[in-house]
Each structure stands twice: as C-alpha cells, then as structure tokens.
C-alpha cells in the first residue's frame, strides 16, 4: 500500500503541475459560442438580445449540416446575436431534450435542421409557448396549429433544375466529342429515401438535364440513410458500373463525389462545392443558403413580428444558389444557366411544366398531392395549376410534395 501512495502522490503532483501550466493559456481560449456585436453593425443592435439555438443531425463532416452551420454562424454574426450549436442530435427524444435545453438556456429561437426532428420540435414547442421553434424541411406546421412552430424550405427544385442544365450541357459535350452516343446519355443519382423531398429533387434535376439534352435518361438508387458514406460510395459505383456517365446525389456524405473522382465520372454535387476534394470531376453544386431565413427569423423576433408558418426561400431571396462552376463543366454552361434563371424569375419557365414530362405515357392535367401529412398518406390537395405542378406553393406548404414517378427515370431499389 505504501508504494501505491507513492505512485499516487507522484501522479497527483504531475497533474497539479499540468493544471498550473495550463491556467496561463486558458484565458485566451474562451470557446463559448457567443459573438460580440461589432461597432460597424450598430444599426442592428436591436437584435443583440436575441439568442438562437441550433440543432443539427450530424456535424461539419456532413455536407448538409455544414451548409446549415455556415448559414447559422454567418447570420448570427451579421446580426450580432448570441447563439448555441448542438451537433449530432439524433431524430428521437434526444432532439426534444436538446430543444428544451436550448430553451432553458434562454434561447428565443430554436432551430432544427433534419426532417425527422419535426415531431420532437413540436413537442418542445407545446411546452415553451414563448419560444419560437423553426424547423427546416418539415411538413406539419400548417396543420399543427401552433403559433410558435414554423416550417421553412426553399424552391431548391429550381436550383436542381439549373444544376441539371449544367449536367445536360456536359452530356452534350460528351456526345459531341464522341465519348458516348446519344443513347448512352444516362445519369445516375444516389438518393437517401423515397419520399417527396428526394423525388422532387431528382426529378427537377432530370428535367433540367433533359431540357438541353433530349436523349437523357436516369437511374436512381437509394441508401436508406441521410449519411452513410459507404452505402453512398457503393451506390455510386453500382450506377457507374451500370453505365451511368454522369452522377448526382441527394445524400449528405462525400461518398458519391469521391467515387466519381476515382472513376473519372463527372459529378453534380449538392449542399456545396466539392471542387477541392474532386477537382477533376466537379461540375457544379446547388444548395440552399439558409442565411436569409436565419436573418429573417432573428429580425422577426427582435422586432416582435410574426414568423411565417411556411417560409419558402427562392432564387430572388438568395436562398437558392449555385456554386462556381468546376473545371469539368462544359463550355457555355454559365450562359445557359443564366438564361434559364432569367426565365424562371420572369415566370415564363416552370420546372414542373406538365408539357415537359409524362407519367405512364400520359400528360397530367390534375394531381392530388399529400400536402397534409397523415398516417394514411391521404391525397388531399390539387396541385396542378396553370399547366404546371405548383411545388412548394406558398398557399400549400414549404416542403416539397412532388412524388410522381415520371417516364425516363428508373428506380433501381425502392426498399427504403
């Protein structure tokens, strides 16, 4: 026992020495996530007593969450408000607890970024009526009837369509160079789940590509997870083996882009540029810039105005953006995208124009979508107006509800 005491005293002495030496450097490394109001933003000091809490499904390793984290820090720093970030919060009771902890910590706004967080955010919203709960991609705010629970999304299908144009231009270039024939213009797409948000995404991307390269076809595979690097990589490799000559994805890891880089297959990524990791194959990426929405909700709380139940960001609000084109982009891509964007803003181009696609060989004139989420998937709302499918219509809900299987796209596995 004596020896143990000796060892113990030595260990304790060592820790104390370390503790002392560490104290010296501790003051400069204050890492609490608060930001000070800078002098230049004196005009926005009205917001400075607002505190925002953020809940993220994964951390910065996920392209999806990184995009939100960047938007959150930018908006909060610009407005000069305090904020707290909680990463790696699963879609379960942990989300409810995280939301309540943020409310307990004095947050006026609590935001969560993943689809499966929704039910738990609603539970927290019921408990804290004075705190505003905002949820991206959710579908229930307009039917829940809670004045402090809000959904938000953006017309990302427009961004996907524009990115699709870049893909179509690339296919045209490959056809012109004799690398592939017209019939081989097949796109591969790695999706996460088989519900409307993903379907709307790949369909708009496909329609964009087909608008410039008419012989385009597409194959879609699903991983059953928002973040599964191995499954996404394997899915991408399977599509490449299947003869897909260009890939895109709606899943959040670097699995598909890196598989493309390795195989030398051009790739349109999502959520942000992958040019640094994939310099030879990156074409372009569309993403939702959440900064405008965060600025909007901070401003609303600071000024005591209502936050919209369903907020839809658009190209014009700066919510839907494309990254810079990569080296793999075909010549003339920037011009083609700019032209389409102008037409969209002018209201002359609709992504889901019913004359541009068919379902089982037929053109649609009417479609009832499941806008009000329920366990029976009841189709409840007519969404075809003026000859196009009104996706994310402000009178319906923010999150996508386009769930049609259009001709030209084949689904490889729909287990999820």
């Amino acid at each position: 026992m004596k020896k143990f005491k000796k060892v113990l005293s030595a260990v304790l002495a060592a820790t104390m020495v370390m503790a002392l030496s560490a104290c010296g450097s501790a003051t400069e490394a204050e890492t609490a996530s608060t930001s000070e109001v800078t002098g230049t933003e004196a005009a926005q000091t009205a917001s400075s007593d607002v505190k925002v809490g953020f809940i993220f499904l994964h951390d910065e390793n996920s392209t999806y969450d990184l995009n939100f984290i960047n938007g959150a820090t930018q908006a909060c720093e610009a407005a000069g408000v305090e904020y707290m970030l909680k990463t790696n919060i699963p879609e379960g009771q942990e989300c409810y607890e995280a939301a309540c902890e943020l409310a307990d910590a004095g947050c006026d706004i609590v935001f969560a970024d993943s689809f499966g967080h929704e039910d738990y955010m609603i539970e927290a919203a019921k408990e804290y009526p004075e705190v505003q709960f905002c949820h991206a991609t959710g579908t229930k705010a307009h039917t829940e009837g809670l004045s402090n629970y809000h959904n938000a999304f953006a017309t990302i299908y427009e961004g996907r369509y524009l990115a699709g144009i870049a893909a179509g231009m690339k296919l045209n270039e490959m056809i012109a160079n004799g690398e592939i024939t017209e019939d081989q213009a097949k796109i591969g797409y790695v999706g996460a789940y088989t519900y409307a948000e993903v379907i709307s995404g790949y369909t708009s991307f496909f329609l964009g590509a087909r608008s410039v390269c008419p012989s385009t076809t597409m194959e879609v595979t699903f991983t059953g997870s928002w973040y599964d690097e191995t499954a996404e990589k394997e899915g991408a490799n399977k599509l490449i083996e299947d003869g897909c000559v260009l890939l895109s994805q709606h899943a959040d890891s670097m699995g598909a882009p890196t598989a493309c880089e390795k195989a030398g297959v051009p790739d349109v990524s999502y959520n942000g540029s992958t040019a640094s990791a994939c310099p030879n194959t990156f074409i372009v990426s569309s993403r939702i810039d959440w900064t405008p929405y965060f600025a909007y909700i901070i401003d609303a709380v600071a000024n005591g105005t209502e936050i919209a139940t369903d907020w839809v960001g658009t190209l014009e609000t700066g919510s839907v953006v494309l990254t810079d084109l990569g080296t793999a982009a075909a010549e003339g891509t920037a011009e083609a995208i700019a032209e389409a964007e102008k037409a969209m803003n002018a209201g002359t181009l609709h992504v889901f124009d019913t004359t541009t696609f068919t379902v089982n060989g037929e053109t649609l004139t009417s479609y009832m979508a499941d806008v009000d989420t329920d366990a029976e998937y009841t189709a409840d709302t007519e969404v075809i107006t003026d000859g196009y499918f009104a996706e994310s219509g402000s009178e319906f809900r923010a999150a996508p509800y386009f769930d049609l299987q259009i001709d030209g796209i084949s689904l490889l596995d729909t287990a999820y």
Binding site: F4, A22, D119, Y377
Partner: protein, 366 residues
C-alpha cells in the same frame, strides 16, 4: 566467477484475496487517472484548464434540473437492462442478447400503439402493451435458452444472432409504418391523441426511475434471499454440483432467461411507451452491451449496479457536454468515454494481480 542470478525488476503475482477497501482504492485511483488523462487531452486540444473541463463534465450531467432528470432517466434504463442480464450472467449463461430483447419488447409496444389506437380504449391498450412487451422480451430470451438446455448450443452466438433478427424486424416494420411514405421514420406515435403513452407520474422522467427502483430491489431480494436465486448461484458455480443436489439445470436456465428477457422487454416498453414514443433500430443505443459491463463491474450486485450505471452515464453525458461546450466533434466525446472505460476495466487487472517490485532495486552496480 560469481554467477549472478537475474531477478526481474518487477513481476506480477496473483492476489490471494483483496480487501474491499483496497479494491475500491484501486478503482478510485483508476478513475482519477482517467480523468487526469482526459483533462490532459482536452487541454492539448482546447487549451482550456482542467478545472473548467471537470466543471463542464459535471454540468453536462447535473447542470440544470432538466439535465439531472435526464441523467437519472438514462441511468434508470441502463440499470434495468443491466439488472435483466445479471441473473443470466450469474449462472454463467452469457446473454449478450439484451439489445435484441429490448428492441423486440419495444416493437411489441409500438405495434400495440399503432395498430390498436382506434380500436380499444387507452387503458386496455396500455395493459396490452405491458403484457406483450414483457412476453416478447421473454420469448426472445428463452429461445436461446431452450437451445442451450436441449442441445447445449453456444448461447453467446445464439443470443447475439437474435439481436440481428430483432434489428431487422424493427427495420422492416419501420417501413410498414413510416410517415410520410418513403421517409424511413415513424415519428412520434399518436402525437395528438397520446394513446398508448405511459402515464407520467409527477414528471415525465419519474416513471422509468420508479420502475428501475422496483426492479433493483426485486432483483436484490430475488438473487439473495429466494430459492431461485440460490439455484442460480449453484448452477453458476458448477452444473455438476447442481445436478448432484437435485437441481434441474435445464429448468433453471429456461426460467432465468424468461425473467432476463422479460425485464429487457420492460426496458423496451419504457423506451417506446414512456420516453421516445416511437421505435427505431437504434433505440436501445447499444445499452444491451453496455449493460454487460455495468453488471460485471458491479460484480453482479444489484445495489452496486446503481453506482456503476451512474458512473457510465455520468461520464458519457459529461463527455458529450465537453464536445458541445468546446465546439469539438462528437468523436471527441467518444475518445474521452473510451479512455475512461479503458481505465475502469483495466484497473480490474490490478485488483486481481499485484506488481511486486524487486526489493534491492537501485542497489546493483550500474
């Protein structure tokens, strides 16, 4: 020339027996050393001083009233699962199927909540949930036990394989019951009607804590003062002795695994009906395996398990608070938890063996 006998500088000797006080001194030293190493690593990564790091660990578990309740609730669930595994371990039946038994219990509860919500009154549904959850867990536990009793199959493998079957069943039913279609998640079941939600006593955290208390006391009495408990101990010591004194080993194995599985099913019921109100494949979060460790560290003593499960949950929540407060990746919390567990498990070596250092150390000529 004088033949010099090489005696090693130190060697390892098995301890004949060790006093409780000494064993706990070793454990406390291990925990302190683990904390010191965690502090050192956090210091290197963040440049913050160790005092604030320990303060953060404590705040993570007990910082606010809500955090304290959540911590206690987590302890309750882990404790129930650990207690469930204990009688099986005590009779040397390696039940590593806690994960599957919890999941299948939870699945039974979720099935009642979803399929019966508009058919039966709430009270009847809750009673059915309790019955089916316990039954489902018991069935999942007794299948490997029957195989062991009848054909002497390896229970480590069969209980482990039952885990995968349970996980796949939950994955399958997730897709059957998903809302909206294709999203791969069930979401909160009966969110607006609250049908099948176990009633909250006092506050929503208390129910699991009360359940854990009851199970702890019950298990303590069962193992220590009942004939069943004694039979389990005899079977664990030696199956031949048990047979010699007329205990039916097969019967004890089957009976004990029914109990073990049923209590795991109870944990599943609490997770689904009382806490999460949904079912996912990850709802038991590896606690079926963590429970093995809790049970072993406490030497199968139900009362000691309160402390070992508290220790593990405390460290886990503290480590995750560090990663939030210092804006580090979640992997950092995993690193810290790993270090702590390594020390806690590693110190058992020093409890069983001692290191004897050569007496004349330092006196030999260089």
């Amino acid at each position: 020339m004088e033949q010099k006998i090489k005696e090693p500088r130190f060697h390892i000797v098995k301890r004949a027996d060790i006093r409780n006080r000494e064993a706990w001194t070793i454990r406390i030293i291990a925990i302190l050393a683990a904390l010191a190493l965690c502090a050192l690593i956090t210091m290197v990564c963040t440049g913050d001083n160790p005092i604030s790091i320990f303060a953060t660990i404590f705040k993570g578990a007990f910082g606010t009233q809500r955090k304290t309740w959540i911590t206690l609730q987590y302890v309750a669930i882990l404790l129930i699962i650990s207690l469930a595994l204990t009688p099986a371990f005590k009779m040397q039946f390696w039940n590593v199927g806690g994960e599957g038994q919890v999941l299948i219990g939870g699945l039974a509860a979720a099935a009642c909540m979803i399929t019966l919500s508009d058919k039966l009154p709430n009270g009847v549904i809750i009673i059915l949930m309790i019955v089916t959850s316990l039954l489902a867990g018991a069935v999942w536990g007794v299948i490997p036990a029957l195989f062991k009793a009848l054909w002497n199959t390896n229970e480590t493998l069969s209980t482990l394989m039952m885990n995968y079957i349970a996980t796949q069943l939950v994955a399958y039913f997730t897709i059957v019951w998903e809302v909206p279609k294709g999203s791969g998640k069930i979401g909160i079941i009966n969110q607006n009607t609250n049908i099948g939600w176990l009633p909250s006593i006092g506050n929503k955290y208390l129910l699991s804590i009360i359940a854990a208390t009851v199970v702890t006391i019950g298990m303590f009495i069962y193992l220590k003062y009942t004939k069943h408990g004694y039979e389990i101990e005899v079977v664990g010591e030696s199956q031949n002795t048990a047979r010699y004194v007329g205990i039916s080993v097969e019967k004890v194995i089957i009976r004990t695994m029914l109990l073990s599985g049923a209590i795991c099913g109870l944990a599943g019921l609490l997770l689904v009906g009382g806490i999460n109100h949904t079912i996912t494949t990850t709802i038991s979060d590896g606690q079926g395996f963590t429970g093995v460790m809790v049970s072993w560290l406490a030497k199968f003593n139900p009362v000691a398990m309160i402390f070992t499960s508290l220790l593990i949950i405390f460290m886990d929540r503290g480590a995750s608070e560090i990663s939030t407060a210092f804006e580090l990746n979640q992997s950092f919390a995993d690193i810290l938890t790993g270090i702590i567990l390594f020390f806690i498990i590693g110190c058992e070596f020093f409890i069983r063996y001692k290191i004897v250092v050569r007496k004349d150390l330092g006196k030999e000529n260089a």
